[in-house]
């Protein structure tokens, strides 16, 4: 019935302690994580139906009276598992800064304007093939206090569920060719360069809508189940 998720896949993730990212220093465990076999608790996960996602929740440009300022973009792709199978009905939540690099969050102190027509939150559910699609505006880069003259490359935050509680993923999608990549300790907390580049979307000219919006493709790859089914319990 259920399957085993290889723990090795987790090697693509950042190490908890990445000292260049200063906030990680006091928020990373010092003791080693305790290995254990996955039980039914780990192998199952929440299932959410269409009632969680309302019509239009995947279009961040239509949530207010007017249209937000900035470059309108389509962000789409598939939620896959590691074996290339589309993950159907997966809840994908996003949040992001506005075109000026300002979040609506009360604690964002960046002196850039808020946009009354942009909140920056959206959600959708992948379809039967794992496909998802958002319409939004391209977020701006923003400064932060990690080190002198620190700027985050433009990014969209994503939260994805998948088939089980151990496939849970929170990540950030970046835009191709950003000159800030080399200087960002969060982006560079992923040690393997190939893995790092899997967080970068690709420009998708074919799905750009002429006279209306540019398009970026971002496939999200969650941990996969290997082929050894567990016994039915």
């Amino acid at each position: 019935m259920t399957f085993i998720y290889p723990v090795d896949s987790n090697k693509a993730h950042p190490l908890p302690l990445s000292p260049d990212y200063k906030s990680s220093i006091k928020r990373a465990p010092h003791k080693p994580l305790i290995p254990m076999r996955h039980t039914l608790s780990e192998l199952t996960g929440p299932v959410y139906g269409h009632e969680t996602v309302r019509e239009g929740d995947n279009d961040l440009t239509l949530q207010h009276k007017g249209e937000p300022l900035g470059e309108r973009i389509i962000v789409h792709g598939h939620v896959f598992d590691e074996d290339g199978r589309g993950v159907p009905n997966s809840l994908v939540e996003i949040w992001q800064a506005n075109a000026c690099g300002r979040y609506v969050h009360v604690r964002d102190q960046h002196p850039a304007p808020l946009d009354p027509n942009f909140t920056g939150a959206g959600r959708t559910q992948s379809d039967a093939a794992g496909y998802y699609r958002f319409v939004t505006i391209k977020p701006g880069a923003y400064p932060w206090g990690n080190h002198h003259n620190a700027w985050r490359p433009a990014h969209i935050h994503l939260s994805v569920f998948g088939h089980s509680f151990v496939t849970r993923l929170v990540t950030q999608m970046y835009f191709p060719g950003d000159p800030l990549f080399a200087f960002d300790p969060i982006f560079n907390s992923v040690p393997d360069e190939k893995a790092r580049m899997r967080m970068v979307s690709s420009f998708d000219l074919d799905n750009t809508q002429p006279e209306w919006a540019l398009c970026y493709r971002f496939d999200i790859v969650l941990r996969g189940k290997n082929a050894t089914p567990m016994e039915n319990t």
């Binding site: 019935m1 993730h13 929440p46 590691e82 939150a121 990540t171 950030q172 941990r223």
Partner: protein, 200 residues
């Protein structure tokens, strides 16, 4: 679509950052609706209703105000609301999942029911427990822990607690307050009384 090639690996995790609240846990403070609350309770749910609460601390013992916890648990009969659990009861509206952002003092709370017994891979019973995923600014990937119940008779024979050094088990066990169905457990992400986290 054309891209059905096998991917080269998973998408790496990145921190939830400091600004997730308006997207993931707006709770009436932002112009966005909550997909989830800190309660798993539904009108028809059966089982012992209880509250779990506590604080989350960093390595300096400072409360973490920008942390998000998610719980996943079985129902009172030990079944998961997931079709992958072939034993699942098809008619219950109980979902078994909840999400809570910590407040400015690092407090979290969940309203839920005590889960039933879930078997381990050998069919041995596990004591009732919740799985917990911990997200925060400064955490590049979320951490996984568990919450057990101090007054449960099955703790001594739980196969997962048995993997944990005896002097650290208390970090996984919420203590019942006298006479109230309220359990308390603080999480410490680093330090002497560091919470046990699992490599799953």
């Amino acid at each position: 679509m054309q891209d059905s090639v096998k991917p080269n690996g998973i998408t790496p995790s990145q921190t939830v950052g400091p600004f997730f609240k308006y997207g993931l846990t707006p709770n009436g403070e932002y112009e966005w609706n909550d997909a989830f609350t800190n309660s798993t309770l539904t009108p028809d749910v059966t089982g012992e209703r209880l509250r779990i609460e506590g604080k989350v601390f960093d390595g300096d013992g400072v409360a973490i105000p920008d942390c998000m916890l998610e719980i996943w648990q079985a129902d009172a009969q030990g079944r998961f609301a997931d079709p992958q659990d072939k034993r699942a009861l098809p008619n219950a509206s109980f979902r078994g999942f909840a999400r809570c952002g910590t407040d400015k003092d690092g407090n979290y709370s969940f309203d839920t029911i005590k889960p039933g017994v879930v078997p381990d891979p050998d069919g041995k019973p596990q004591a009732p427990h919740l799985l917990v995923a911990v997200f925060a600014r400064g955490m590049l990937r979320h951490l996984y822990t568990r919450i057990y119940f101090s007054d449960d008779a099955g703790l001594a024979s739980d196969p997962v607690l048995a993997l944990v050094p005896a002097d650290r088990r208390a970090t996984l066990i919420a203590r019942r307050e006298a006479a109230k169905p309220v359990y308390r457990l603080d999480l410490r992400v680093q330090g002497d009384e560091e919470t046990v986290f699992f490599d799953v």
